[in-house]
């Protein structure tokens, strides 16, 4: 232990170099990071490795893509397993990246020297989504073809640039062989390079900030990274690996019939992680759903770490006791309001029948049906609970996260034929 003279292999040496020699004992508790950043990087490595294997068989043309995957599954040793692991790791990575975002946000780990890493993190989130979205098309089955059709058509709704952007992404007016080639190049060349660059920056900045945040900086007890941290990392890594392999062994990645550009399945949905977004478009006018809300969210997420916070609050889970309560209230508020509004718009209020411009009837009116309760809620927090700036941000962000989760839930499980609610 702590014996510097031990000789390490090149790989071990490299991995150890990612860490300093000693770390704060508080920083390596499971409840600090839940290992989520580490799980992300491991999943990325698994994906890169299995993706590389898939590449040896995969042919990026509409005629051969589907058959090349079927043949890979049937004729290559462990073919199914490799594809399954690639598929499920990708799905998990969306979830663990989101959880990692929640962890750094709620543990107040995004201020001062960590501000930049919040921004690089947001870029990484986009990269992970781009990876998933481009990968989604590659099997070229009915699911992937129509999901990408729906999603690129949602992009067309963005005012001014939407159509141009969608045509650029697709390499044409519809999803075709150009789209497949574009997506293949992005998925297996451009994005792997991009993500490597940003992961390196992300890690370097973590080191520069002297590791992850700890709640109380006064009483520091330093321990050796090896074995204190390394042993925990190994446990988390083995656990992740076990889960991914287990799921890969018993659950096949979906593969429907080969894509048929003439027959749209009913219903056709965007990929599951974008269904919250599609839900927005179902309920709100396109200008609001594809431009105003996304821009507002972008500004909000850029703004968050710019707020000044007292030094002793950095690294505190949920900021304060009041913060905890506010978060619980916000979750309840968002669940109730979002579900109610979806139900009202589906069954009782048919705003598009009103004889006024659609932008007002299907845009402004439902938007305010959400904003007015939300505004009142925030106002009450401020007046009654005397919430400070950060606590209000916690409330707002919680409402946003929860609403997106509720909308995704509705989109994934509660919408059936013709995208109507199933009950």
């Amino acid at each position: 232990m702590g014996n510097d003279k031990i000789k390490h292999s090149v790989l071990t040496g490299f991995l150890l170099h990612l860490h300093p020699k000693k770390v704060n004992s508080e920083a390596i508790k499971y409840t600090r990071t839940f290992g989520l950043g580490g799980i992300n990087i491991l999943l990325f490595v698994i994906l890169a490795f299995t993706g590389l294997l898939l590449r040896f068989s995969y042919m990026p043309t509409p005629e051969r893509a589907y058959d090349s995957i079927v043949s890979f599954q049937n004729n290559t040793l462990f073919g199914s397993l490799i594809r399954n692991i690639h598929h499920w790791s990708a799905m998990f990575m969306v979830i663990t990246t989101f959880l990692h975002l929640l962890r750094v946000f709620y543990s107040q780990s995004i201020y001062y020297e960590r501000k930049k890493n919040w921004y690089y993190g947001l870029i990484l989130l986009l990269v992970v989504l781009a990876f998933n979205f481009t990968g989604y098309l590659l099997p070229w089955d009915q699911l992937s073809y129509w999901a990408v059709t729906i999603m690129t058509n949602i992009i067309e709704y963005v005012p001014f640039v939407g159509e141009w952007l969608a045509n650029l992404i697709r390499g044409g007016e519809i999803v075709n062989e150009n789209t497949l080639l574009n997506f293949y190049n992005f998925h297996t060349a451009l994005l792997p390079i991009l993500s490597t660059v940003f992961v390196v920056l992300h890690f370097w900045l973590i080191r520069k900030a002297k590791g992850v945040t700890v709640a109380n900086n006064n009483e520091q007890k330093m321990v050796n990274v090896n074995p204190a941290l390394i042993s925990k990392e190994v446990i988390v890594a083995l656990f992740t690996l076990a889960v991914v392999i287990f799921i890969g062994l018993f659950f096949n990645a979906p593969l429907l019939e080969k894509a048929n550009p003439m027959v749209s399945p009913n219903p056709s949905k965007a990929p599951w992680y974008f269904l919250g977004f599609q839900e927005l478009l179902i309920n709100l006018h396109p200008i609001i759903a594809t431009l105003i809300i996304p821009s507002a969210l972008t500004f909000f997420f850029i703004f968050i770490p710019k707020v000044s916070i007292k030094n002793e609050k950095v690294g505190r889970w949920f900021y304060s006791e009041k913060g905890k309560r506010i978060i619980v209230y916000s979750v309840l508020f968002a669940v109730v309001t979002t579900s109610l509004l979806i139900l009202i718009l589906e069954y009782w209020l048919h705003l598009n029948k009103l004889d006024i411009p659609l932008f007002i009837s299907t845009g402004i009116i439902p938007l305010f049906m959400y904003l007015i309760p939300a505004g009142t809620f925030i106002f009450i927090l401020k007046k009654k609970l005397k919430a400070d700036k950060i606590e209000l941000i916690l409330a707002l962000a919680t409402i946003i996260f929860t609403s997106y989760i509720v909308m995704s839930f509705v989109g994934i499980w509660l919408r059936g034929e013709a995208m109507h609610l199933i009950f």
């Binding site: 129509w146 059709t149 729906i150 690129t152 058509n153 949602i154 067309e156 045509n167 650029l168 390499g171 044409g172 007016e173 519809i174 150009n178 574009n182 550009p261 003439m262 027959v263 749209s264 399945p265 009913n266 219903p267 056709s268 179902i282 598009n352 659609l358 013709a418 995208m419 109507h420």
Partner: protein, 149 residues
Amino acid sequence: MKRRNFFKKIILGIVGIETGYLVFDSFKKKKKKAVSRDLFEAGRIDSFEKNRMYPFNSGKFYLSVFENGGMLAISIKCTHLGCIVQPDNDGFLCPCHASAFDKHGEVVSPPATRALDIFPIVVSDGKILVDTNSPIKRKGFKKSQLTFV
């Protein structure tokens, strides 16, 4: 030192612009190829009857001939989210999200808000040709959109 930084920035800038241009250009070329494709040949004029609708799946349009002899080449792509509309009692229905359109392609029931696109029809040599590469977006149906032979 300052001068060196200045040159460094210029060189980086030029490389950046060049890379951006290359990436962009590689997208664009494909589009040109698509545009240069010929018109779609639907058939001889006398092979079409009035008051009927002919599907052309490979051309991605429905050729509708109305009572007055006017014709429309209506796109099969739903204006909502791009699914393929199906003929449905005297109109069209989108299977994905239940948008409905009348025989002229006008919206009867949302979520779609815009009429189905149409393609320009050219008559030459007694044949009906459809320019499937240049969809025309429209708010609704107008008489002037009809082609007569």
